[in-house]
Symmetry: C2
Subunit: 214 residues, 2 copies
Amino acid sequence: MGTAERKLREKEQRRQYILDTAEQIFFKQGADVVTMDDLARATELSKGTLYLYFRNKEALFLAINVRAKKQMREMMEQALIAEPKANGLLQVQALGRAYIAFAMEYPDYYQMTLRCFTLETTHLDQDRYADEAHYHGEKCFEMLMLALQKGQADGSIAQDLEIGPTALVLWGQLNGLMQVLDVKGPYFQRKLKVTADAVIASCLELSLRMLNPR
Amino acid sequence: MGTAERKLREKEQRRQYILDTAEQIFFKQGADVVTMDDLARATELSKGTLYLYFRNKEALFLAINVRAKKQMREMMEQALIAEPKANGLLQVQALGRAYIAFAMEYPDYYQMTLRCFTLETTHLDQDRYADEAHYHGEKCFEMLMLALQKGQADGSIAQDLEIGPTALVLWGQLNGLMQVLDVKGPYFQRKLKVTADAVIASCLELSLRMLNPR
DNA sequence: GATAAAGCATGACCGCTGGTCAGAAATAAG
DNA sequence: CTTATTTCTGACCAGCGGTCATGCTTTATC
């Protein structure tokens, strides 16, 4: 009989329902200040029930992080699909733009990926959600490396660059910049009279110079 | 009589003593797991006394963050003093190396700057320590901008770059990369067979290409 | 339909943490 | 020595993440 499967489906549905609600109140009030009691009230479930579906509060973060990373990956994949026959350099650029678009269009998701940055790594091979999120991130990184490779093959990217380190630098660079803008953006806008958009444009331009063949 | 000044001096000494002890146990055990009771025991003071010298636990972090930033600034300043008549590009490079050296030689301090990254900004104009740390960071940033300017003047750096955004990108880039290496370094070492040093070398090389005149 | 078994939901409860405060102790002033 | 002031103390508190004995609902068996 299909009872078992139905139960499993229902369980998954409830899990998603909890996540939906958690996302809402985490993003509205700030994930730190929301207590598990708050979430219990918001979901109209008892606190104990929450812990039936998620080992602890961290697990909730990591589960939302999975959604975030999935979204990020989707946008980066779409960016490549949109320009199937672009050269490698253009592909790298497209990936960068997609990453930026993700951070700007889904700031709460982006925040969650930052919050889980360390958590995700320390919980690898121990938490299903950590593994899943890591997997999406890895896929994105592979796309970046492939684009770099393609660029070297088609001559749009300097031949003498090592793929791995270059990809890591590009990733870290963009990640770091978005983080700085996120936290100190308003400050720099006042101080330097420069908008975040202008800085991002500069970053993309500078990345081009980095990769250009001599 | 000099009683008042002596008291003030003693107060400052005790404050530093608390910070010294806090640094020790925070860095040895991890700042998160150390409780204020732990710190009280370690300092041989009562918990209440700790709160006489620091508003709360965050204030302790921010105060240690000041020490960290001071160290960072010192190292970056020394880097410039060591090569007084280098051209702008070399100065930028020297600053980058100094920043990296700071992160590698004082990993606990570096960790603390990361932990306080957001805190420091949100507490600006409200917390003496936040302001002080921010000031040191600002000085470093100014050094970077001046080096870029000098580079444009002496022809070692592309003329068409905007100083502000370029400095921000460089800063964010290095910051982001060090963070990635810090958290996922071991992972990438396994995955890509690339050491952190090699990635850092790549980063410096790539930065050069970014700034080079055509 | 009655009964047993299994799974699920509950919320009172726990330990621990950052933070407080009334009173004790120490120091300075008269 | 007495008084006034500053400094220190640790028992105490509220709030948090997390647990678990208890009761309830659903499923399986006859």
